[in-house]
């Protein structure tokens, strides 16, 4: 059972939680990122039809494992971390990502680690989403990450 996975299958909190629970664990914190149908903006409520997610699978799974290693360094009492991200077409209300963190006690960092995992995922893991409406679609680009070297295509112009 993989702890870090890019998959086209629907995600389940229970299934991902089962990947991390061990007999010495009394606490599991999870996070699900869900496809919103409506988003409140300054210009009013915006609707979404569905999303398409694409991943650089090999690199994404390696970076998910790295995030878990970072968590083990920061919260050493955490027993296990699993991060599963879905790709392909996702409808409103479906989960795009599920994170589960298990620890012996609720004060052992499972909440903090779970929050850390989603922040890091959104910053460094090569996954992209394309938003679709009735009349069009656009690839969503996240903010630039100062910690990562970005390129402008012209040698030397980093």
């Amino acid at each position: 059972m993989k702890l870090f996975e890019i998959t086209a299958q629907p995600l389940s909190l229970d299934e991902v939680a089962r990947r991390v629970v061990r007999p010495d664990c009394g606490a599991v914190a999870t996070f699900a990122g869900v496809v919103r149908g409506t988003t409140a903006t300054q210009e009013g409520v915006r609707g979404t039809d569905f999303l398409n997610y694409e991943a650089y699978t090999e690199m994404a799974e390696a970076l998910l494992a790295r995030i878990a290693a970072e968590i083990q360094g920061r919260w050493p009492k955490v027993v296990a971390v699993s991060i599963v991200h879905r790709v392909g077409r996702l409808e409103i209300g479906e989960s795009s990502v599920v994170i589960a963190v298990a620890a012996p006690h609720r004060g052992d960092g499972c909440f903090e680690a779970c929050q850390y995992a989603i922040e890091r995922l959104k910053a460094i893991v090569p996954i992209w989403k394309e938003e679709n409406w009735a009349d069009g679609q656009v690839w969503v680009e996240g903010p630039r990450q100062p910690e990562l070297v970005s390129h402008l295509g012209v040698p030397g112009a980093l």
Binding site: V34, K122, W139
Partner: protein, 86 residues
Amino acid sequence: MQIRVRLFATLRQQAGWAQQLLDVPAGTTLDGALAAIDSAYPSLAIGRRTFYAAVNQEYAQGEQLLREGDEVALFPPVSGGGAVAE
């Protein structure tokens, strides 16, 4: 030597392909490969947009030396995780 170039998301869509093999001189750096990609595939317009580059699934700096068979991936700022504009 030959390297494998992979594109994702907008870059893949703009180029119309996801993966190509590219011949570059031995001793080429990532920057050198980016320049070669720019002239081989001008429709990508990588000189006019911000993107990230990875060599063998690791974020890479421009001065990194490439080797035969390396996989060079170009992609836009990532946007995985939750909902739109989360």
